[in-house]
């Protein structure tokens, strides 16, 4: 078993509900959006870990908290054994180059006023990591690594002059140029057309193979994740409900939520069985999550215990973790 590069334990991120000045004055109880509510997660070296969940389940918040774009409310984040969850911003800079983040929207995540060279080299310039020639070399290599070839022809282009897929690869190159060891990719292809998604995803696979970079691949698309990720964690309302290797998770899902998710995904083949719905209702609010198992109001198998006791994530089969009272 390979070593862990990033792990978080009991990680929580609550957002206080913004209310008027006076209502804060009058009511004692503080309302929070419990976006991430006690997550344990490990990402191993040289693996792509998938983090799957529906919108509003807290997967992006978790990703941003791990790279400390957001400060965790509670819990620890270990990077190669060192806790970075409480480091103040100025001490964090050392880890910035090692842990990178790729944003969902390639239209928004690059400054439209900068050229691609400026965008890719920005991290080097901010951290004063390289000399002038060195910067050019590293930008060249990074662009080549993300298959933007020939690299020099892209230097002076502005983001709006390249396609969405290329722009997202520019964003990857910007992270790559710093030689990171771990990258959180937040829905990197959800804004792109299906026909070009694989172009970006394959770049990620290349980087994993070539440089041994680990990824946390955040997505709502389990079908893509199955083909890209080594392991997949399924998140529901701020909690991880199941973790397993990608094939096992899809083929033998244990948690009723995972089962519902898989049954609901259509297949591009008219002969395949039609989609079915195995969960009632819709995802509840993260302000007042249900007591006990958070999935119980929608679960077809829920019984008394589910309403009262919160299930813990347990290893049911080797490498297959699930948080459910059924097992």
């Amino acid at each position: 078993m390979s070593e862990t590069i990033v792990s978080c334990k009991g990680l929580k991120k609550y957002f206080p509900l913004r209310r008027g000045f006076l209502s804060t004055l009058f009511s004692r109880e503080n309302l929070y959006v419990r976006a991430v509510d006690g997550v344990d997660l490990e990402v191993r070296k040289n693996e792509i870990m998938g983090l799957i969940g529906e919108s509003g389940c807290g997967k992006t918040t978790l990703g941003k908290t791990i790279v400390r774009l957001l400060d965790p409310t509670e819990g620890s984040i270990l990077f190669k054994g060192e806790d970075i969850s409480k480091l103040p911003q100025n001490k964090l800079i050392k880890y910035r180059t090692k842990i990178q983040f790729i944003f969902q929207d390639p239209y928004e995540s690059v400054n439209p006023r900068y050229t691609i060279f400026d965008i890719v080299s920005e991290g080097l310039r901010i951290n004063k990591l390289a000399s002038k020639e060195d910067i050019e070399n590293r930008v060249y290599t990074a662009l080549k690594d993300v298959r933007l070839e020939p690299p020099e022809s892209f230097y002076d282009l502005y983001p709006h002059e390249v396609s969405g897929g290329q722009r997202q690869r520019v964003a990857i190159a910007r992270a790559l140029v710093l030689n990171p060891e771990f990258i959180v990719a937040d829905e990197p292809v959800s804004m792109l057309d299906v026909s070009i998604r694989a172009e970006v995803l394959n770049v990620m696979l290349d980087l994993k193979d070539k440089y041994g970079i680990s990824f946390l691949f955040i997505s709502h698309d389990l079908a893509t994740a199955k083909h890209i990720c080594d392991r997949i964690a399924v998140m529901y309302l701020g909690k991880i409900v199941e973790i397993a290797s990608s094939e096992e998770l899809v083929d033998k899902p244990l948690h009723p939520y995972t089962q519902a998710l898989i049954a609901a995904i259509p297949v591009p083949d008219p002969r395949a069985p039609k989609v079915t719905v195995k969960a009632k209702g819709e995802i509840p609010s993260a302000i007042n999550p249900p007591k006990g198992c958070r999935f119980h109001p929608r679960c077809p198998f829920a019984f008394e215990r589910c309403r009262i006791e919160e299930p813990q994530l347990r290893e049911i089969e080797p490498g297959h973790f699930v948080a459910c009272h059924l097992y």
């Binding site: 008027g20 006076l22 209502s23 009058f26």
Partner: protein, 335 residues
Amino acid sequence: MGLKRFIISRIITMFVVLFVVAVINFIIFQVLPFTVLGIDPKTWFVPAGGTRSDVYLDKIRQEVIHNLGLDLPLQERFFQYIYAMFTFNFGYNVGGALDGPVADTILRFAPYTILLLGASTVASFIISIYLGIFSAHKRGKTFDKVSLITLLFFYAMPSFWIGSLLLLFFAFGLKWSPPNAESYFSGLTGLDFVYALLKAFLLPFFSLTLISVGGFYLIMRSSAIDIITEDYILMARAKGLKTRKILFKHVQKNSILPILTVFAISLGFVLSGAIITETIFGWPGLGYWSFVAIDTLDFPFEQAFFFIISLMVLVANFIADILYGIVDPRVRTSW
């Protein structure tokens, strides 16, 4: 949060803001002239009527100084002042143009302002809503271009200019209207008074309507343009609804929202326009008298006027919020 809670919290906020406004008032009318600029209140308050006797003059000065508490130390004066403001005890007019308690004068002249402002606001609202929506519908066509340019022109026209032009043309030129409203209907009673009042009312009413219609129209047009591109308007078209129904049901109810907020915020500006308009036409409302009061250094009147304008702006904001909730159900839930 609930409507009750919302109203209570808004009223408390209003009191806080009003208090700060009162403090600013205090600085402007009492600290700035007398303490900072070092103006002697005894020479400051010169009543306008020169016929009055010296004894009377002294009496007035004494009264004013006492009334404003200028013979008291600053901190005592402040508390006295705040107490007076919040109990609507505004003191007595000085300066010779107006007599008696300020509260009485304000109550006496407020109806004129309310008539003028109310009528012109309603008129400019209706015009701007219809023109704005229709312009948005005909965007880029001749109708839109013509009304946009015309109303932009009104929007940028200084209120005193509109006023003088109307006065020049209709009062002096065509002699349809009296050049000075107050002298025209003062002294009349009964139906004669009403007739004269209405005749004198027309010019300031048109003037004020023209001033405010431009701004409202621009907001209405741009919000209607936004709304027209919304999917639910496409849906309304797909449903086969008549254009008139789409525009004046679906578009109107949604695009009226920003104009409500803007009206509340801009009420202060509308009142400013009223000062000039009333002054130009001699319409004896609060704006006119506030200018006269400034001229005669009638500070008790002036600070009451300020306080009441601020109160009106706050109340208007409050009402706009409530109206907003009535029009838009989404807002109600956020209370």
